[in-house]
């Protein structure tokens, strides 16, 4: 188990910087998620940690010792790629034992370790099978067993689930977590799927354009993003352009939006919000829909003081029924507010409802001309 430090690493492939002076610190034994859209440099970063790419500048340290001069084969890493890349000419046992054989472990000793690793990924008994005889999920599990059987100090996962279907993906996530907990390997997982990153990581970083936008615990990032771009990348949210009008009250702040003024808790602003021009972000699942005839906020079980604020009347424009959740697009004086309800009682399209934007759920973010109003 090693801690990993990335110190102002930059990389370009004949052209603009793909990774621009990136610094990161992953404590020993934890899972770190590197989340970003494709082309943001996350895979390049991972490949530099593995040693498959050499940074143009900066340093990478395992346990405080620079590994830049160490080739991948001697970095004590295990890596799982997007494709399983199991050697097609070897059976499962030969695949999993490959790393052990490279270390010179005797066949007798390696056999029991292979069995252990396969049990860990719940594939005991498949030793004699060939990769092509396994399902996609099994192949990726063998790839995981192959990566961890050598007890690497660092486990690197490069989009390990993106080639699997949804149900397998969930199983595999749980499996990766359990394997990582059992072995306690410092793990970095690169993904473009925010759900995957959030579920797998202890700490995660959102990366845009070769640089880290924000680092933190997943829940923290989700609830308190620093920018509209991060907020939207981490999940469905309403981004409303707004103007801060009143900051005099101690407990509440007033902002003007295209559909009326909103009261928001002053503590919930991104640190970089300086100007009064802001973007208010409220997650779709935090928007409460109240039927018009149910009058009085006590009906939804919230305190009168808070519940009475930020209620607006709108018209349901669109209804999308998902698995156990319904998404409504509500037109509030020309602004489209998206609300998600965990419910199976569908409201009719065209009906008039009231939406409530809870004060403490509205986060103020720096104004972003590209994203406001979407």
């Amino acid at each position: 188990m090693s801690s990993i430090e990335i110190d102002r690493v930059s990389k370009a492939y004949d052209g603009p910087l793909v990774v621009d002076s990136l610094s990161l610190c992953v404590p020993s034994g934890t899972v770190f998620g590197l989340l970003g859209p494709s082309g943001c440099g996350k895979t390049t970063t991972l490949r530099m940690i593995a040693g498959l790419l050499q940074p143009d500048s900066g340093d990478i340290r395992f346990d405080g010792v620079s590994v830049l001069a160490v080739p991948p084969e001697r970095r004590a890493i295990g890596m799982v790629f997007q494709q399983h890349l199991l050697f097609p000419h070897m059976n499962v046992e030969q695949n999993v034992s490959f790393g052990l054989r490279m270390q010179g472990v005797r066949p007798a000793a390696s056999r029991s370790r292979v069995d252990e690793a396969l049990d860990l990924v719940r594939l005991g008994g498949t030793q004699r099978r060939y990769p092509a005889q396994l399902s996609g999920g099994q192949q990726q599990r063998v790839a995981l067993a192959r990566a961890v059987v050598t007890n690497p100090a660092v486990l690197l996962l490069d989009e390990p689930l993106s080639n699997l279907d949804t149900r397998l993906r969930e199983e595999m996530r749980a499996l990766i977590r359990s394997v990582q907990r059992r072995l306690g390997i410092t793990t970095i997982v690169v993904t473009h799927d925010q759900g995957e990153a959030m579920e797998l990581s202890d700490q995660m970083a959102v990366m845009f354009d070769g640089a880290i936008a924000q680092v933190g615990r997943p829940a923290e990032l989700y609830a308190r993003p620093d920018s509209a771009r991060i907020a939207r990348f981490l999940g469905a949210t309403n981004l409303i352009p707004a103007q801060v009008v009143d900051t005099t009250a101690v407990d509440l702040m007033r902002i003007d939006t295209p559909f009326g003024s909103l009261d928001v808790c002053p503590g919930n602003s991104a640190p970089t919000t300086g100007s009064p021009r802001v973007v208010a972000s409220i997650r779709c699942e935090h928007v409460a829909i109240v039927d018009r005839h149910i009058d009085g906020p006590t009906a939804s079980g919230v305190s009168t003081r808070d519940g009475a604020r930020n209620i607006f009347t709108g018209l349901i424009d669109d209804v999308v029924v998902g698995a156990g959740r319904i998404t409504y697009a509500v037109d509030v004086r020309g602004t489209r507010i998206t609300a998600v309800e965990v419910s199976d009682a569908e409201r009719a399209r065209g009906s008039t409802v009231q939406v409530r934007l809870p004060c403490d759920r509205v986060r103020l973010l720096p104004f972003d001309p590209d994203l406001a109003g979407r």
Partner: protein, 306 residues
């Protein structure tokens, strides 16, 4: 032709376990193709057993075994297998040169193909063109040029000289095949092996080589087939001193009797090394041979040989 006959109905009459089974139409078509390909061989084989076979006759008028006792010298197969014919040395030369050429061609093409498939470098297209030249330029030009060069180097009339000369027409094919194989080989296999602790040599021996083996076999097979068919280069460089099956065949045809039993038998024998080599490589690599030669992704032989 009746309705439905000859139409290819995928899935009808499912036989094997394949995704698509062959219908009767497909099988009939395959037999027709087979017949077309093997047709020229039939009269050859018959002729090799004929003593007299004049034009309008559909079958030989006199067979070898009836004429054998009348003849004072051995004819046909008997002649070929006698020491006088010198078939043995020619067969040995052809096989030896062919194997040497095939091994050398593959050994040279392998690293070159890897570089061409993997990297972009200045003058790459120029090199690719140069590597293809021997296929475009007439063999007589290559032959004369090679002869002039080899005369200076003292390689004329040596096996080494013939082998080197044979590399000229074989290398382009070997290179082509190997390049396609490397283009289809996912570089990720080597990377994953590297993260698992495999050094350069181990990656090559344990991962790359087994995966490109079908391609290597195909390239070797082609090199062998071409080598065992080359007449002109062998003739020029060997100065007629190193008999191979093609040179022997040509001298037979030259001597006047285009299709007597001996020549026909010789032609049959000329095609034997190639067929033997094909069966051998096919056995070595299973079904992967044909796939790799078509440039399809390298597939493992599932459940086949263990």
């Amino acid at each position: 032709m009746g309705a439905g006959e000859g139409t290819i109905v995928i899935g009808a009459r499912s036989r094997g376990r394949g995704l698509y089974s062959t219908s009767r139409g497909v099988r009939v078509a395959l037999w027709i193709v087979f017949a077309l390909f093997s047709f020229p061989f039939v009269p050859l084989v018959v002729a090799s057993f004929a003593f007299r076979w004049h034009w309008p006759a559909v079958v030989p008028t006199e067979w070898l075994w009836t004429a054998r006792d009348a003849s004072t010298v051995p004819v046909g197969w008997a002649y070929l297998f006698s020491r006088v014919s010198r078939l043995g040395p020619a067969f040995a030369n052809t096989t030896l040169i062919g194997v040497a050429v095939a091994s050398l061609a593959v050994a040279l093409a392998l690293p070159a193909a890897r570089v061409i498939a993997r990297y972009d470098f200045r003058g790459k297209s120029f090199f690719e063109f140069v590597f293809l030249m021997p296929v475009i330029v007439p063999q007589i030009s290559i032959g004369i040029g090679t002869l002039l060069l080899f005369l200076r180097l003292g390689l004329v009339r040596t096996h080494v000289g013939v082998i080197l000369a044979h590399l000229v027409p074989t290398l382009p094919y070997a290179l082509r095949i190997m390049t396609a194989v490397f283009q289809n080989l996912d570089h990720g296999y080597e990377e994953v092996a590297q993260t698992l602790g495999a050094g350069r040599m181990q990656r090559f021996v344990r991962v790359v080589l087994p995966l490109v083996l079908p391609g290597v076999a195909t390239a070797g097979l082609f090199a062998f087939l071409i080598s065992s068919n080359v007449f002109l280069l062998t003739f020029l460089v060997s100065g007629g001193r190193i008999p191979t099956l093609p040179t022997m065949l040509f001298s037979h045809i030259e001597s006047g009797a285009p299709l007597d039993a001996t020549t026909a038998g010789l032609v049959v024998i000329v095609s034997l090394p190639g067929i033997a080599f094909l069966l051998l490589t096919d056995r070595l690599t299973g079904q992967r041979l044909s796939l790799a030669s078509l440039g399809a992704p390298v597939q493992p032989a599932v459940g086949g040989r263990r």
